[in-house]
């Protein structure tokens, strides 16, 4: 029987191992970082140590806000380890969705069946979005669960906003990888593009925060769009969230056009 969205279902269901793996990684990172906040971020000793660090370094790592619960969560989970894990996950999914599938020769067979290329890109992109949303929900729930016991005092609406930015930021790297993979038919090019968006965004943010002369760099940093106003502490900047998700959607559309217009597997 023909059932709705077979490509989406296969892309989503067949990757459950990978999704579960990344979920375990994110969960472990949160479980390691957050419970120790009372003994690190909140202590005066830690604050003295951070004050002793070069200010450029604390700014680059976003440790300037580490003394508050929301600031600590922002800097460690959303800003560093969570960002890293989530970006790697989405970039690998995005690069594999079309470029990797084409390189391994399997895309040819799928496209010879009763699907359109646009449908293929959209359904596979949707599977990526769903996985990203699930992981972001997991992060949201876990942090909320630790909020009291770790004395984080995070506002749940602000946390929700941060999770939306978090997901949008990861998605931007992932869809960049998808787009370049769909354009070139090469997984490695997709990986490079996705990683470049993630890494350059991080670097532009870290450098741009160093001095007012360099703060124009922040405009080119998706990382800064997402986290510039410390969403865990202050709530999401919804306009920036809109940009992250909107550009991602645009990249999916461009991916479908790119694939539609070229020879596959040649």
């Amino acid at each position: 029987m023909r059932s709705p969205m077979p490509l989406f279902r296969r892309a989503f269901v067949d990757s459950w191992r990978s999704t579960l793996g990344w979920a375990a990684g994110l969960g472990a990172a949160i479980a390691l970082y957050l419970p120790i906040y009372p003994s690190i971020g909140g202590s005066t000793q830690m604050q003295q140590m951070i004050n002793a660090l070069p200010p450029e370094m604390t700014k680059a790592l976003n440790y300037d806000q580490i003394a508050s619960g929301p600031g600590y969560t922002q800097a460690t989970v959303f800003g560093l380890i969570g960002f890293l894990l989530m970006t790697i996950a989405t970039v690998s999914w995005g690069a594999a969705a079309v470029g990797g599938d084409e390189e391994s020769g399997q895309l040819e067979l799928t496209l010879a069946h009763g699907v359109t290329r646009v449908q293929l890109v959209f359904e596979r992109a949707l599977a990526i979005v769903l996985r990203v949303v699930l992981l972001a929900v997991l992060v949201f729930v876990l942090i909320l669960a630790l909020n009291d016991s770790a004395h984080l005092s995070i506002d749940s609406m602000h946390l929700f906003g941060a999770a939306v930015e978090f997901a949008g930021l990861a998605l931007l790297s992932g869809t960049a990888a998808l787009f370049v993979g769909a354009l070139s038919g090469r997984k490695s090019y997709g990986l490079a593009a996705g990683a470049a968006v993630g890494v350059l965004g991080y670097v532009f943010n870290a450098v741009g925060r160093q001095s007012p002369d360099l703060d124009w760099l922040l405009n080119f940093s998706p990382y800064h769009w997402a986290y510039g106003n410390s969403p865990v502490a202050n709530g999401a900047d919804w306009a920036s969230a809109g940009w992250l998700w909107g550009i991602s959607a645009g990249l999916v559309l461009l991916s479908s056009i790119a694939l539609q217009r070229r020879d596959v597997g040649s």
Binding site: M1, R2, S3, P6, L7, R9, R10, D14, R17, S104, G105, Q106, E108, L109, T110, L111, A112, H113, G114, V115, T116, Q119, D263, V264, G265, S266
Partner: protein, 324 residues
């Protein structure tokens, strides 16, 4: 008769390199059409154009009455396709993969998948990435055949299959034709498909050298003949054969009490049988016509290879027989 595939002036370039230089052929509905050529001749490129996986640089294509460029999923559901280089690396079982393609291109008759798997002797519950090349090929064949499409496009379908499974595959092709399906298949050797194909196109370097029915090839084909007889000298036997029209390349293998000869026959077998009728034959082998050899003889220079070998082989044996 209606044509299932019409190709006119098909050209395809990758960058500045043109790999198809204007190909024309037609495949009649309900027939088996083979395209034969060495690797790199353009077979795969032609097939990919039919499936809209790659787009022609010039020319007109009609597949089941539609332009593949615009036929979309509706057209491709009516086609079963086996890629030339089949890679199945997913961490799923064969059964799940087939279920997926059924969901995309189905419906598939109930029990059809198991029936095909049993015929080809394939275990559907193993992960596809762990399958051998031959077993992956079987899985590829099942996904192409399972929804009983009007047209089957099979790129090197017999590659990696052992001879028994090849025979089973050829039977599946015959059955598909009997049901009215059209089969378009490729091979680098004619012998693998001559049994199944009604018509073949010979493709060389992006050009079609000839299109002929297998029957026509068979008529012009050469057969290898070997017989042993008593009560006749080698010279007389050679002379007798020499008078039969179409016989050439006579070689005496043994002489003495009985003679054993080989020869090559081109054309009708009637006169040969009449000539042989007067002999006391102890053995007679008249091989299936070798269509490949005849095609190569007509359109290339490699065709004399076997005969050439034969005549070289003759000399020491003649020496040997004179000693005996």
């Amino acid at each position: 008769m209606e044509s299932a595939i019409t190709v006119e002036g098909l050209r395809k370039s990758f960058g500045s390199r043109e790999v198809l230089h204007g190909i024309d052929f037609q495949v009649q509905a309900g027939t088996v059409f083979g395209v034969i050529g060495p690797n790199g001749a353009g077979k795969t490129t032609t097939m990919r154009c039919l499936l809209d996986i790659i787009r022609p640089s010039a020319g007109t294509l009609r597949v089941l009455g539609q332009d593949p460029r615009h036929g979309g999923p509706g057209l491709r559901r009516r086609i079963g396709y086996l890629p030339g280089e089949l890679t199945l690396e997913a961490r799923v079982t064969g059964r799940r993969l087939l279920d997926h393609y059924e969901a995309v291109s189905g419906p598939v008759r109930r029990g059809r998948i198991d029936e095909l798997a049993e015929r080809l002797n394939l275990d559907l519950d193993r992960h596809t990435r762990k399958l051998s090349k031959g077993n992956k090929q079987k899985l590829g064949l099942i996904q192409a055949f399972m929804h009983e499409p009007e047209l089957l496009v099979l790129d090197e379908p017999t590659s990696g299959l052992d001879p028994l499974v090849q025979q089973e595959f050829l039977a599946m092709v015959q059955e598909a034709r009997d049901r009215g399906q059209t089969v378009f298949l490729s091979s680098h050797v004619l012998s693998e498909v001559q049994q199944a194909a009604d018509e073949v196109a010979i493709l060389r370097d992006g050009r079609i050298v000839t299109v002929a029915t297998v029957d026509a090839l068979r008529e012009s084909a050469v057969r290898h003949l070997r017989f042993a007889a008593n009560g006749i000298t080698a010279d007389d036997a050679g002379a007798l054969l020499g008078r039969v029209p179409g016989v050439g390349g006579v070689e005496v293998l043994t002489a003495g009490g009985g003679v054993e000869l080989t020869a090559v026959l081109e054309g009708s077998i009637g006169p040969l049988v009449q000539a042989l009728a007067g002999l006391q034959l102890t053995d007679l082998v008249l091989e299936e016509p070798d269509l490949e050899e005849s095609v190569l003889r007509l359109y290339g220079n490699n065709g004399n290879g076997r005969r050439g070998n034969g005549s070289r082989r003759r000399e020491p044996q003649e020496e040997g027989s004179s000693h005996a």
